[in-house]
Amino acid sequence: MAGVQVSNLSRSFGAHKALDDVSIDFADGGFYALLGPSGSGKTTLLRQIAGFDFPDSGRIAIGGESVERVPVEKRRIGMVFQNYALFPNMSVGDNVAFGLSVRGEAKATIANEVQRALDLVQLGKLGGRRPHQLSGGQRQRVALARAIVTKPRVLLLDEPLGALDKALRVDMQIELKRIQREIGITTIFVTHDQEEALTMSDRIGILRDGRLVQEGPPEEIYDRPKSEFAATFLGDANIFRGETTGTGIRLPDGTAIAAGAGAALAAGAKASCAVRPERIRIATDSGTSDPNANMLRGQVSKRIFAGNNSTYFVDRGGQTLKVIVQNTGIERLAEGQKVVLRWSPESTVLIAGS
């Protein structure tokens, strides 16, 4: 097992820069999610680490050893593909055994290891089945068993849960995390699903147009996004744009919004503030509360009821704000109602303007 260091990695396909000077340190034994929209370069980065494609420039090290020119079959990595890529001409057992048998391991060793891997993914009794006789979730487990049975240094997963339905996906997220903890393998996971990235990983790297936008633990990125893109791609955010006052921003209409976190900016520069919808409190009166809190008035234009919570869309001087409220009681605000929005400066992140 080993950590992976990617330094100044670039790769172009014709005029298209798929990866542009990306550097990430994947810690040994960590679970790392690469998150980004399609075309952001996350799969290209994974394929570079796997060795299916070589970089134009930059360095890739696995366990401290430079591998950027080493072909995939010599890198000792395990990979799980989005479509699972199980060999249809082989039984489940033979699929899992493949990596060991091409290495020429002894038959008894192979049988032992295969059974252990199948037990680990809770498919111990299905070794004799053919891949087409399995459900999507079972195929997923076989693909995982096949990838880890060879004891690779790194486990690479390319949107492995993308083809599963919602309920199964949540099950597999927990299962994948359990297996990863159990064997302690460095895992790099490509996904475009922000919820998956948030719930599963120790660290997240957000990519956009081939560049690393932000990198860190899920809480850090969620609470202190460094760009509007990071704020809106990982979770939901209300964005206010204006000029900095040093401790917040002033909107074009003169309203001041105080920010308790984020970039230190010179007064007068263009900047934005991001606020998560669930951090905003909504009320019908101005009341008497914290005088430091940010406050805006508006009118409810729409309400979406989702059982445990409701989303209110509040119009305020040409901007629609999103507010999520837990339904702890039965009182609800009607559409058209005049409301007051409040949130603390600590929940407001100052972001440099683009």
């Binding site: 479509n83 060999f87 091409v102």
Partner: protein, 289 residues
């Protein structure tokens, strides 16, 4: 639910009938009727069209078993079919692999066209062009002597290799096409998965790619083996006196000796032998596929 499906398929059959009818009508007229006539002829003493008196007999079939010559020729033809099929695999499979897995887009279309191109020319023209290439003082001979510093004589005309060359040329596109179809259906991620597990290219070929493309190899082999065993044009033109095979003997019965009953009997023996071979091979091939 089951009832719905049943009515659905019944009305489906009714609407399918007009679409199926022309094909089956044509097959009946063009294949079944002449074939039945041939079965009938093969049990006759004389061809009824000749005006002579005729009766039913088994002599035509007995002739095959009585004369060792026919056995020898049949075995030679089966060997020819096997050799041509093997050469087609050796030449066609790698080409199909490159077409399916290496080339993409326009370059694939262009190379594909080159594979199909021979189909667009007349078979007889193709065989005679090979004659021009293979004979002494022909294109191959002249070209090699122009390049090589010493004098050599290439005269492949009227030889067994010439027959093989001509037949392989005619039939290799079938192997390329059938293998291309199965190879193209193999997902690239399977190959990548195998490589990520540490398999060399050769191991991937042996354990994943060839097993998965077996249906194409089998289909190609059947498409080639059957007509080659009965072939007569290439053996006659390119093989000359060495080109006497089972197919040429059958042709002689029809066009030279005018012994249609014997020709018909020999044809049906060939058909039976080929069917037996395919039947014996099918469980083996099915397991491999």
């Amino acid at each position: 639910m089951a009832g719905q499906v049943a009515t659905g398929s019944r009305s489906g059959l009714r609407s399918a009938l007009p679409l199926l009818l022309p094909a089956y009508l044509w097959l009946t007229v063009a294949i079944f009727l002449p074939l039945s006539a041939m079965v009938f002829f093969s049990f006759m003493t004389e061809l009824p069209l000749s005006g002579k008196a005729w009766s039913f007999t088994l002599d035509n079939y007995a002739t095959f078993f009585a004369q060792g010559l026919y056995w020898t020729l049949l075995l030679a033809s089966l060997r020819l079919g096997l050799e041509v099929t093997l050469w087609c695999v050796v030449i066609g499979y790698p080409a199909a692999y490159v077409l399916a897995k290496v080339f993409r887009g326009r370059s694939r279309e262009a190379i594909f066209l080159l594979v199909i191109l021979p189909f667009w020319s007349n078979g007889l023209v193709r065989i005679f062009s090979w004659a021009m290439v293979l004979r002494e003082g022909g294109i191959l001979d002249t070209a090699l002597n122009a390049v090589l510093p010493f004098k050599i004589n290439i005269d492949l005309m009227y030889s067994y290799p010439a027959v093989i060359i001509g037949l392989v040329h005619s039939y290799v596109p079938y192997m390329v096409l059938t293998c291309y179809l199965t190879l193209q259906a193999i997902d690239d991620s399977l190959i990548e998965a195998g490589r990520s597990l540490g398999a060399s290219r050769l191991q991937m070929l042996k354990r994943v790619i060839i097993p998965l493309s077996m249906p194409g190899l089998v289909a190609g082999a059947a498409l080639i083996f059957v007509p080659v065993v009965g072939s007569f044009m290439e053996p006659r033109i390119l093989g000359g006196r060495t080109g006497t095979f089972y197919g040429t003997v059958i042709e002689d019965q029809f066009v030279a000796v005018f012994n249609w009953p014997l020709g018909a009997a020999l044809s049906f023996i060939l058909l039976a032998v080929v069917l037996v071979i395919l039947a014996l091979a099918s469980p083996v091939l099915k397991r491999a596929a």
